[in-house]
Symmetry: C2
Subunit: 143 residues, 2 copies
C-alpha cells in the first residue's frame, strides 16, 4: 500500500524531544533530531511545524532556539500525531468517476465510502490507545 513514514518520524521526533527534556535540556534542535532519525533537518522542521499547529509542540527562535513539547508525552496519543500530519484517507475511491449509467458504477462510490469511514474510525480508535509515553517506555525497555 501507500506506506508513508511520516507518523513514524513524527513519533520519533516527539519522543526524542521528550526524553531530551527529561534529561534536563530546555530545547532540542531540528539538527539533533534529524541526526537520530537519519534524515534532513528540514524534513523534521516541516513535520514539527504541523505538530506545532496542532498544539503538540512549540518552537523558540533566535539564539538558544529549538523545540519543546507543548504537552507531556503521556498526554499525546498516536492519534493526535496522526491527525496533525495526515491529510488524506487510507483508501481512495475511483480516480476517474465510474460510469453513472451503470447501476454498479453509480452506487459503488457511496457504498465503499461508508465502509471506509468505518475502517478509518477503527484505525483511529486503535491509534488512540497508545501514548508517546507508552512508546518511550517500549523504547527504554528495548535498550
Amino acid at each position: 500500500m501507500s506506506a508513508n513514514s511520516r507518523l513514524t518520524i513524527a513519533a520519533h521526533a516527539l519522543t526524542w524531544i521528550g526524553l531530551y527534556q527529561r534529561r534536563g535540556h530546555e530545547v532540542a534542535t531540528s539538527e539533533q533530531i534529524a541526526t537520530s532519525v537519519n534524515t534532513n533537518p528540514v524534513v523534521i522542521r516541516r513535520l514539527l511545524a504541523k505538530l506545532s499547529k496542532a498544539g503538540l509542540a512549540d518552537s523558540r527562535r533566535g539564539a538558544g532556539a529549538g523545540w519543546m513539547l507543548a504537552r507531556d508525552l503521556a498526554a499525546i496519543t498516536l492519534l493526535d500525531v496522526y491527525q496533525a500530519i495526515e491529510p488524506g484517507p487510507v483508501f481512495a475511491l475511483h480516480r476517474a468517476t465510474p460510469d453513472p449509467e451503470c447501476i454498479v458504477g453509480h452506487g459503488i462510490g457511496p457504498a465503499m465510502a461508508a465502509v471506509y469511514d468505518d475502517v478509518e474510525a477503527a484505525l483511529r480508535r486503535e491509534l488512540a490507545k497508545t501514548t508517546l509515553e507508552d512508546v518511550l517506555r517500549d523504547v527504554l525497555k528495548a535498550a
Copy 2:
C-alpha cells in the same frame, strides 16, 4: 496518505461480475468491466489476475472468454479482496535506518512496528465485516 484505489476498483469489478452473472450471463469481459469502472481493460485484467490467484475469480480463455466469480458474492469479504491485492503495510517505518547509537533511534522501530501490527489487525477486522453481497445490496438500494 497513500490513498490508492485498488480496493475500490477490485470490489467494483467483482460486484459487477456478480450482478452480471445473476442477470443470466456466463462471463464478463475486462472490456465491459473497464467501461463501468471508467478505466483501461488492462488495469482490470491485472487486478483480476491477482484475485484469480487468491481464488476469488476465474477466467476462461479462447472464444467466449471472460471472467466469472469463483465464489458467491456473499462468500467474499472486503478483507479477502484486500489481502489479494495489497502487498504492503499501511504505515511504513523509517526510510533510512535511524541512528542505532541513539536510544530512541535504536528502539523506536520495534516499538512502532508493534503498534502498527495492532492497527493493521483492527483494519482487517473491520474489512472482514463487509461482504460483496453487502456492497451489492447497498448499490441496488441507492439505485
